[in-house]
Structure formats: C-alpha cells, structure tokens
C-alpha cells in the first residue's frame, strides 16, 4: 500500500515546552485517519508541520514522498487543506472564491461546490464574512470537495459548529472519502464525530502517541465502550 504521509522521529518544542519527542506515524493511501488528543497535545502543531508552516526541532515528514518543507506546487494541488475554524478568504463571495480557486486546480469540480452551496440556500453574491459559522464550514467543505485532491488534511473541522452542521459535515465527508477513495488526515477534539468517519486513529497525549491502530480493532478491545469512552480511559479525565 502506497504511503501518503510519513513522519519520522518528529520532535518539537515551543521554547522549553516539549510538545512531543520521537513521533512516528504513517498514513496509507485511502485511509481515513483521525489524530485525537486533548487541547495542547500537538494536533494543530502536527498539521502545521505537515503543511510546511512549522519547522520541527528535529525529524522529517514527507507527503507523497516530498519533504513537507519544499512541496512542489503540483503536489500541493493534490492536498486539500482545511484550517482550524474553517478559515477562508471571507472577504470574497461564494461566486468569487470559486472563481479564484478554480484557476489553480486542473481537476476542479465546479458541480461539487455548487451542489453543496445550493443546500445552503444562499445567493452566489453572498459574502462569506456575512455567513454563519455553519454556512462557512460548508463553503470550506465545498471548496475542498471541488479541488478533487488525493489527500484531505482537516484541522479541527468541528470547531464552532452546532450538532446539525457537524453531522452534515461528517456525513458528507464520510461519503466523499469512501466513494472517491480519498486519503483523509483529520483532527478533532469532538471524538463522537469521528467514530463514524475514521478507519484508524492516533491518540496523542502530552509528548507521545498512546495508541495508533484501526478504530474497529480498538473498539473491539474495549467491549461496550465508545471511541470517546476509550479516549477518556486512555488519556484520563480533564
């Protein structure tokens, strides 16, 4: 199985504070992997390192075999990125942002974007900054789907969403990833959302990985417990 993401001996500190040491993991093609952890365990740090926006103290990460510090533009076209809080160019309208992004992606799927926008019942000229958090999350998701990327990297996709939009987001994402065979690497602090989406999970604690295995295997090892229960069992209560 082709390896899409590979992180080896990753160590990072913020000042003197250790985030993690000697972190190793791999993501295979077609896998939907969830990086789970309490706040401050380094989930966003890992995404930042993976996307080349943070240089780790030591260690190396590759995506599609390329060092993340120097990813070629063509390879970036294969990676769809969702920033924490569904940040987008919110000074643009629904129409303008689609026009902007479509110029950069050869496999751009306009229909996927507008199908999702139709569900929002908003005018194409509607400015993103004037939308609710939930609507903005759908715009961000629509842009990701339209990119038709091979790898989706989603940082805390559930942040700021009410249960309805979280569910909509999860269902759309799950169906898309399964039907299209996409590789997904995501983080979230709401574990219950992930149970239905991820095939494999990496549970992080302060400074280390506690568990990395198939979600089904993990759940089978703890009969009668949900992924959220297992997470609390492993990481301890807040």
């Amino acid at each position: 199985m082709e390896t899409v993401i590979k992180c080896e001996h990753l160590t990072h500190y913020y000042g003197k504070r250790k985030i993690y040491e000697d972190l190793n993991f791999e993501v295979s093609k077609g896998a939907v992997i969830g990086l789970l952890g309490k706040n401050g365990t380094g989930k966003t740090t890992t995404i930042n390192i993976l996307m080349g926006y943070l240089k780790p103290k030591s260690g190396r990460c590759t995506i599609f075999g390329e060092d993340v510090q120097n990813i070629k533009p063509e390879t970036r076209a294969r990676i769809a990125l969702l920033l924490e809080g569904h940040v987008q160019h919110s000074y643009m309208s629904i129409e303008q942002i689609e026009r902007f992004y479509s110029a950069f992606y050869l496999k751009w799927n306009k229909k996927a974007y507008y199908d999702l926008m139709d569900k929002l019942k908003v005018a194409p000229g509607q400015k993103i900054s004037r939308m609710s958090n939930g609507q903005r999350s759908q715009v961000a998701l629509g842009l990701i789907l339209a990119q038709n990327a091979d790898l989706l990297v989603l940082d805390d996709f559930s942040l700021g969403l009410d249960p309805g939009y979280r569910r909509l987001f999860c269902e759309y994402l799950r169906d898309y990833a399964r039907n299209e065979g996409k590789t997904v690497f995501l983080t979230s602090h709401i574990i219950q959302d992930l149970e239905k989406i991820i095939d494999e999970c990496i549970i992080m604690d302060y400074g280390r990985i506690l568990v990395q295995e198939k979600t089904a295997t993990l759940i089978a090892r703890y009969p009668g417990m949900t992924l959220e229960d297992i997470f609390i069992e492993l990481t301890g209560k807040y």
Binding site: M51, E74, L83, Q88
Partner: protein, 223 residues
C-alpha cells in the same frame, strides 16, 4: 493564475482603492483650484514670484499623501492574510509561493503607480498653464521623492504586516519610521535629486524583508 492572484488582491482592496482615489483627486483638485484662483485674480506672475521668492513648490500640502496612502494600502491588503492565518491558504495554492507573494506586492505597486501617475499628470498639466515648464519640472522632481515615499511606505508596511513576530515587526517599524523621517527631513525643492536612485534601492530592499517575513512564517516563528 497570475490574473487570479491580482483578482484576489483587487477584491480585498477595491473599496480602499476607490477611497484612496477619491482622497487623492479631491486633495489635488482643492490645491489646484486654489492655485487657479490665485492665477486668475493675481496673475500668473504672482505664482512665478511666489515660487521663486519663497522657494515653494506650490503643492507642499500634498507631500504626505502618497506616504499615507501607500502604508494604508499595505495594511488593507496584507492584514486579511494574517487574520485567522489566512496566509497559510494563500501559500497553499498550487503556485510557486515566492511568485504568489511577489505578485501580491506587484499588485500594490501597480495600483499605487496608477494613482500617483494620474495625480502627477494632472498636476503637471495644471501647473503648465500658469508657470514656466522649467518650474513645473522642478516641482515634479521635488514631488518624485514623495511618490517614492509612497512606495517605501507600502513595501515596508507590507513587510511589517507579513512578519510573524512582534520583535521583528517593531524593528521593521523603526526602520520605516527612520526612512520616513529621512524622506521628509528637507523641504527644500529638489533636495533629494542625488539620492533618488539610492532611495529607490532602499524601497526595493523592503521586498527582501517581505520574503524574509514569509520564510519566518513558514518556519513557524512566533513570540
């Protein structure tokens, strides 16, 4: 793709550009109407005499305008990139990162060039009606440094906005303030003629600081 980068910058700055054009047009029109009145009631000779006797360039009130407009354009254009760390999205588009940033800066430089050129042409045409071409040339050479100050202000303010750490931002602001002081220290007409190429170089050096800020952003530098 280049067009789309300009398109994004245009969407961000279009209202500001309209406002900047309105301020520049109204400010210039106000000064020129005043000069026109003086020429009409007191004669062109009065303006000539005033320029020579007072070592005046007649349009002194406009000297800080390009500097202010340049700095504000950088803020309006670059701050949205920092809000929510949107710069990550901009750098993630499948286009060479250095080209993306360069095109963003070129957009600002081109936008300011249009504004400043229109003003310079309007002022030159108006002044040519009242005073000798040699005097107009002297005034426009003096004004050249003000326009250059506009570009310096734009590029260095952009580097301040894109720099991820406050310590470095403060240092860049000090450099920008020092430069502003230097650019406006002498009110004597044509005082900067000999320095203009150096000032242009300094202005271009600001671009290196923009890229330096981007490199630091990519390393994850923060306070």
């Amino acid at each position: 793709m280049k067009k789309m980068i300009f398109y994004k910058e245009w969407i961000k700055t279009r209202w500001y550009m309209l406002a900047a054009a309105a301020v520049l047009i109204s400010g210039t029109a106000y000064i020129l109407l005043g000069l026109g009145k003086a020429a009409q009631f007191k004669g062109n000779a009065f303006l000539w005499g005033y320029v020579i006797a007072h070592d005046s360039v007649l349009i002194e009130q406009l000297r800080y305008l390009p500097f202010i407009l340049g700095g504000l354009l950088a803020v309006v254009q670059m701050l949205p990139e920092l809000a929510g760390k949107r710069l990550k999205l901009t750098l993630h588009i499948p286009y060479p990162q250095w080209k993306t940033i360069l095109l963003m800066c070129l957009y600002g430089i081109a936008a300011l060039s249009v504004l400043f050129s229109v003003q310079a042409v309007a002022v030159s045409i108006a002044l040519n009606r009242w005073i000798a071409a040699e005097l107009v040339c002297r005034i426009m050479k003096t004004a050249a440094v003000w326009y250059l100050a506009g570009f310096v202000s734009y590029i260095w303010s952009a580097s301040v906005c894109l720099e991820p750490s406050w310590k470095m931002r403060t240092l860049l602001l000090v450099l920008l303030a020092g430069m502003a002081h230097l650019l406006f220290i002498s009110p004597v007409p044509e005082a900067y003629n000999g320095f203009l190429p150096w000032l242009a170089l300094y202005s271009a050096a600001g671009l290196c600081m923009v890229f330096h800020g981007i490199a630091r952003f990519k390393e994850g530098v923060q306070d």
